[in-house]
């Protein structure tokens, strides 16, 4: 693993982090903390709001919880609705991510490394997909999914999500795969490796940082997606978390605290997932935005 990382750093031409980290100046910290406060203030409101009683919202809307009603959180965690929606979201996100990464890296390898005619046109087709919003296609998509008999199923959400995530995946991966030095390919060829062998044994391991980036973007996009599941999934048993949150908020519109407790719990997975991989995203995008 260490050897691969070293190669990656030469590929992207960047070694980061000095050996010792210093403290910044107070002014820098002040700006940073101000920005952090603005960013997480509303999130804290949601989380703490789940611990308050409903009457507190009218008497002192912005105060800390007085009641600290943990029971509201316990109620959400114990509800079968939440876990059903959680697992629906997880299944959709995992299959979408796997599909996007697999299809995306294969197509990107062709676009980056095969000298075929029509490669430019194919890249243009995928890149143009960035301009084809799901919004535009949603009604025909709904009818197609219906005709395919996939309405109300997770497959009906997963397949279009893979398709709509492909453009950004390919746009990020192609420069990444292209940056792998040609000498490696030549060396592999001399050792008798075919193009596919080179792809399997060298390209995939070397492009792990890029793959992680596109995987995270796909996972978060799927986890948060709202419009497509809203159209495709009508049965509450199949609801994903965003649909669940919206439905819960409508259903319990008077019970603000409970809505906030439900909302807070549902944001935990994406937050945990993202904090773990945050540095990987920045690293993986470096290759892409450099072009």
């Amino acid at each position: 693993m260490a050897g691969k990382n070293v190669t990656y750093h030469t590929v992207s031409g960047r070694v980061r982090r000095g050996s010792k980290t210093q403290w910044g100046s107070p002014a820098v910290y002040f700006c940073a903390l101000l920005a952090v406060a603005v960013c997480i203030g509303p999130v804290l409101f949601i989380i703490l709001g789940g611990l308050r009683s409903n009457s507190e919202f009218t008497t002192s809307p912005a105060a800390l919880p007085k009641a600290w009603k943990w029971s509201q959180y316990v109620e959400v965690v114990n509800s079968s609705d939440f876990w059903g929606q959680f697992s629906n979201s997880a299944i959709c996100a995992v299959f979408t991510t796997t599909g996007v990464v697999a299809l995306g890296v294969m197509a990107s390898y062709v676009l980056a490394r095969y000298p075929v005619k029509g490669r430019g046109a194919m890249y243009a087709l995928f890149a143009a997909g960035l301009m084809f919003p799901l919004t535009v296609a949603i009604t025909p998509l709904y009818l197609m999914i219906q005709a395919m008999g996939l309405l109300g199923t997770k497959a009906g959400v997963i397949l279009p999500q893979i398709a709509f995530q492909l453009p950004i995946t390919i746009v990020i991966l192609v420069p990444f795969l292209r940056a792998i030095p040609r000498e490696l390919e030549e060396a592999a060829a001399i050792d008798g490796s075919s193009r596919l062998g080179f792809f399997w044994r060298m390209v995939l391991p070397l492009s792990v940082p890029g793959l992680v980036t596109v995987a995270i973007l796909a996972f978060v996009a799927s986890w948060n997606s709202y419009m497509l599941p809203l159209f495709i999934l009508s049965d509450t048993a199949n609801y994903t978390l965003p649909l669940g949150v919206a439905a819960f908020a409508t259903e319990h519109s008077v019970d603000t605290a409970k809505v906030l407790a439900f909302t807070s719990i549902s944001m935990i997975p994406a937050l945990v997932f993202f904090s773990i991989f945050e540095r990987r995203i920045v690293g993986g995008l470096t290759g892409a935005v450099k072009g």
């Binding site: 960047r14 910290y29 509303p42 809307p61 087709l125 960035l130 025909p140 990020i172 690293g283 935005v289």
Partner: protein, 338 residues
């Protein structure tokens, strides 16, 4: 998208095909067998088909085909049951373009595009410069700044709606700060204030994405340039203006591209926070117009025609942007297949 690629790709292809002993052997083989077109032999072509086929099939089936269908349905008066038969030509388009509510939605989209770039660009640049400094606690600060971007629009919208409601938390905070007048503003319901509220939330939500992109771009700038600058006695700010900003320009331009497209397609947040009242509070977008006047009014042909207009607007903006802004990045990630 890739206006330059067709001319560039073959040249690169020849260069690639001529490299390495394996290539020439493969060529020799393919010359005897199938006619050599792409320069990679029949086996290469099978590989290309196997590798890119699945992605192409999924993409064309679920992205390209529905978009074409939308264009077709847009010519019909159709309630969504059975096959559309009531062909009405361009009537849907005439009605949409003549509807003041649609024109308002279009104007709101334009407002979001311009304001997103004007507000988010400089703020995100500042934050990225800040986070690019080596200092303790940097990774924690980064993660916290990205929190709004990671959360779903539904969560964010639900939370902000509660915070901003009359006599809600936001008003209470303003009152505590002594800004009583602001505290009584109707942040969500007033036609003059709501668009700015929307911009505030959009900036809050999407600034993290801009910061991520900019940070990634900054990591691609060679360290030697800063070392050279330091040797020449350049100050920190001088280096940011003379090294970081010029070299970050391609990243900023790509961010601009993604922001324009995203702003034109804005839907989730508005739908969650304002719902059907969006068009009375100055925050409706083409996408919310499409859903409310199309699907929710059982006018599928009309909705599809709106979708087509939305697409044409997006496509035109993207092409213009590519032509006049992105063109400078000969090697930019979005400019073509190279």
């Amino acid at each position: 998208m890739a206006s330059t690629s067709p001319s560039v790709a073959p040249r690169k292809a020849d260069a690639l095909a001529g490299s390495g002993p394996r290539r020439s052997r493969a060529e020799a083989r393919s010359r005897r067998g199938a006619p050599r077109r792409g320069g990679i032999g029949w086996r290469g072509r099978v590989e290309v088909a196997l590798l890119s086929g699945p992605a192409l099939v999924v993409f064309v089936t679920f992205v390209i085909f529905p978009v074409i269908l939308a264009a077709y349905f847009g010519f019909f008066r159709w309630r969504g049951y059975g096959v559309p038969t009531d062909f009405i030509g361009f009537d849907n388009y005439r009605w949409i373009l003549g509807d003041p509510y649609f024109r308002a939605a279009l104007a709101h989209n334009a407002f979001v595009v311009v304001m997103s770039i004007i507000i988010q660009g400089p703020v995100a640049l500042g934050l990225a410069l800040l986070l690019n400094r080596k200092m303790r606690g940097r990774s924690l600060i980064r993660v916290l700044l990205f929190v709004p971007y990671v959360l779903s629009e539904v969560i964010v919208g639900t939370g902000w709606r509660l915070i901003l409601q009359p006599a809600g938390a936001f008003s209470a905070i303003l009152e505590a700060l002594g800004l009583d007048k602001l505290a009584h503003w109707d942040w969500l319901g007033s036609e003059t204030i709501a668009p700015w509220t929307m911009m505030m939330i959009l900036t809050w939500k999407y600034i993290g994405f801009a910061v991520i992109l900019f940070l990634a771009g900054m990591q691609g700038i060679p360290e030697e340039l800063y070392e050279a600058g330091a040797v020449d006695g350049a100050s920190y700010w001088r280096m940011q203006f003379s090294i970081t900003l010029p070299l970050l320009a391609p990243t900023v331009r790509i961010w601009g591209f993604l922001t324009i497209i995203g702003s034109l397609q804005l839907f989730d947040l508005i739908y969650i926070m304002w719902g059907p009242v969006a068009k009375f509070t100055g925050v409706s977008t083409m996408a919310t117009y499409m859903v409310y006047e199309g699907r929710e009014s059982n006018a599928y042909g009309y909705g599809n025609a709106t979708a087509v207009i939305l697409f044409i607007v997006t496509f035109t903006c993207a092409l213009l942007y590519q032509r006049f802004v992105l063109r400078r990045d000969t090697d930019g990630a979005l400019t073509g297949g190279r």
